[in-house]
C-alpha cells in the first residue's frame, strides 16, 4: 500500500521562517509606533495643561478656579526640581488604556509654574485653582491641583477661609455638608477625626504624620493639598524666585535714585534672610522682616512694588 504524507520541503521551511520573521518585524514596528504615539499624546497633554495654567495668572488678590476635563482616566504626576536659577515644575501624564495604566518617560517641564498636589492626582476631571503668593510683593501664582474624586472638608475653617472657598465655587472644597469620604481639614482639634490639622497660631500643617510650615494663606492651601516633599521643594523654588525679584527691585531702586526718587527699603537684609531659608520651618522666622519691609515700601515716596 502506498503511503501519502505531507512533504515538508526546504521551500516550505524557508517560507515559514522568513514569513515569521516578517510578521515579527511588523508586530514589533506597530507596537513601537503605538508606544511613540502614546508618548507623543502624553507629552502633548502635559504641555497643554501647562499652557492652560497661563490664564490663571491673576492680577489682584483673588483666587480663580477652573475645571480640567480629560478624555480618558488620567494620572497627572507632579514633580518638583530645585536645580538652576528657578528650579523646574515637571508634569508627567499617564493614561488608562484597556484598563491598564500606560506609563511614559516623557517629562514636561516649566520654570514659571508652581503646582501643589499629591505625588499624582487620578481621575477624568480635575479642579485647578490659583492664588497669588505675596512675600511681601507678588512672587507668583500658586496652582493647586486636585482630582474631582477627592473631597476636602473645611467645615471648621475661619470665616475668612470659608468665604474665600465659597466664592471660588469649587465643587470638591466643602465648607458644610461634608460627606463620610471627605478629607477632613481641622482648624481646631475638636473631637472629630482629622486627616489634616492646621494650626493657625504656629502656622503649621500636619498631614500624614509630617509637619510643614506656612506664611500667608496661599501657602496654607499649598501645604494642605500637597505632600511634604513637593511642598518643601516648591518653597525652595519660591525663595529662589523671590531672591531674583529682590535683585530686580534693587536695580529698579538704583534707576529711581537717579531721578531723585529713592525708596529707602532695606532689601539687603531681607535678601540675606531669604537666602538662609532652607525649609518651610524657617519661613515663619521671616514674618517680622516681611512686615517691616512692607511698611518701608508703603511709606516710601517712590514705591518699589
Amino acid at each position: 500500500m502506498e503511503k501519502r504524507g505531507f512533504e515538508f520541503s526546504f521551500g516550505w521551511l524557508f517560507a515559514i521562517i522568513v514569513g515569521a520573521f516578517i510578521l515579527f518585524l511588523a508586530i514589533y514596528g506597530v507596537t513601537r509606533i503605538l508606544d511613540t504615539g502614546r508618548d507623543v499624546e502624553s507629552a502633548k497633554t502635559g504641555k497643554e495643561i501647562g499652557i492652560l495654567l497661563n490664564p490663571l495668572e491673576t492680577s489682584f488678590e483673588t483666587a480663580e478656579s477652573v475645571l480640567l476635563t480629560m478624555p480618558v482616566e488620567t494620572r497627572i504626576y507632579n514633580r518638583c526640581e530645585e536645580e538652576g536659577f528657578f528650579g523646574r515644575q515637571v508634569i508627567k501624564i499617564s493614561q488608562k488604556s484597556f484598563n491598564k495604566w500606560k506609563e511614559t518617560d516623557i517629562d514636561i517641564g516649566f520654570k514659571n509654574k508652581y503646582i501643589f498636589s499629591d505625588g499624582f492626582e487620578e481621575g477624568k476631571n480635575f479642579f485647578i485653582f490659583s492664588k497669588p503668593f505675596e512675600f511681601p510683593f507678588k512672587v507668583t501664582d500658586l496652582v493647586y491641583l486636585t482630582s474631582i474624586k477627592k473631597e476636602y472638608c473645611f467645615a471648621d475653617a475661619s470665616d475668612e477661609v470659608k468665604e474665600e472657598l465659597e466664592e471660588l465655587k469649587q465643587g470638591n472644597l466643602l465648607v458644610e455638608n461634608c460627606t463620610e469620604k471627605s478629607i477632613n481639614i481641622c482648624f481646631e482639634t475638636s473631637g472629630r477625626e482629622c486627616d489634616v490639622i492646621v494650626n493657625e497660631n504656629l502656622k503649621s500643617v500636619k498631614k500624614n504624620a509630617s509637619i510643614v510650615y506656612y506664611e500667608t494663606d496661599a501657602l496654607m492651601y499649598a501645604a494642605i493639598f500637597s505632600d511634604k516633599g513637593n511642598y518643601e521643594c516648591q518653597i525652595s523654588r519660591l525663595m529662589k524666585r523671590t531672591d531674583e525679584l529682590l535683585n530686580l527691585y534693587d536695580e529698579k531702586n538704583s534707576i529711581l535714585s537717579g531721578r531723585a526718587c529713592s525708596s529707602n527699603v532695606d532689601l539687603i537684609s531681607f535678601k540675606s534672610i531669604i537666602n538662609d531659608i532652607q525649609n518651610s520651618e524657617q519661613l515663619v522666622g521671616a514674618t517680622a522682616e516681611l512686615n517691616e519691609l512692607e511698611i518701608q515700601n508703603d511709606r516710601a515716596d517712590c514705591k518699589l512694588w
Binding site: F10, V40, N54, P55, K111, K138, L245, E251, D301, K303
Partner: protein, 163 residues
C-alpha cells in the same frame, strides 16, 4: 529556481511593508511638528494676555493702586540687565515692549538712553509675534517733582514655528 523566486518575492513584500511603515511614520511625525507649532502658538497667545500681570513686569501698587495690564518699565529695564537668568523661563522665543503712543522713532532702549527710547527688547524676537496692548508706566522727575508717566505700549511675544 522556485526558492530563488520565493526569496525575491519575500524581499519585495518586506520592502513594500517597510516603505508603507516609513510613509506612516512620516505622517505621524509631520503631525507631531504641526501639534508642537500649534501648542507654541497657544502658549504665546495665552501668555501675551497675562504676561503684563506677572511680577517681573507688573506695576503692582506703584502707580496709585493696583492696575491690570500695566507694565512697570523701570522694573522691565532692571529685568533686561538680568535676562540671562531668565532663559527659557516663559517658554517663548522672544519678548519685546514697543511704545505705541506717543509715537516714537523705534529707538531701542539701553541703560544709557533709557527712558528716551521706544523699544525694550528683553529677548530678541525670532519667529511669529503676537501682541497685546498695555500701559507702560514709570516715575519721572519733572522740575524736581516726581510724577507718574504712563504711555500706550504693545507687548509682543514671539514663538517659533516648527518646520
Amino acid at each position: 529556481m522556485k526558492i530563488q523566486q520565493m526569496a525575491f518575492m519575500l524581499i519585495a513584500v518586506t520592502l513594500f511593508f517597510v516603505l508603507v511603515g516609513m510613509f506612516f511614520i512620516m505622517i505621524l511625525f509631520s503631525n507631531v511638528k504641526k501639534s508642537a507649532s500649534l501648542l507654541e502658538e497657544q502658549n504665546a497667545l495665552l501668555l501675551v494676555t497675562k504676561l503684563a500681570n506677572s511680577p517681573e513686569f507688573s506695576c503692582q501698587n506703584v502707580f496709585g493702586g493696583p492696575k491690570i495690564n500695566c507694565i512697570d518699565s523701570d522694573k522691565v529695564m532692571a529685568l533686561k540687565s538680568n535676562i540671562n537668568k531668565y532663559s527659557g523661563f516663559w517658554g517663548v522665543s522672544g519678548i519685546e515692549i514697543r511704545k505705541v503712543y506717543p509715537e516714537g522713532s523705534r529707538i531701542e532702549c539701553t541703560s544709557e538712553n533709557y527712558p528716551e527710547c521706544d523699544e525694550i527688547k528683553l529677548i530678541s524676537g525670532k519667529g511669529t509675534g503676537i501682541g497685546n496692548f498695555v500701559a507702560s508706566c514709570r516715575k519721572e522727575n519733572i522740575n524736581n517733582l516726581v510724577q507718574d508717566k504712563c504711555e500706550l505700549a504693545k507687548i509682543i511675544v514671539y514663538y517659533e514655528v516648527k518646520k
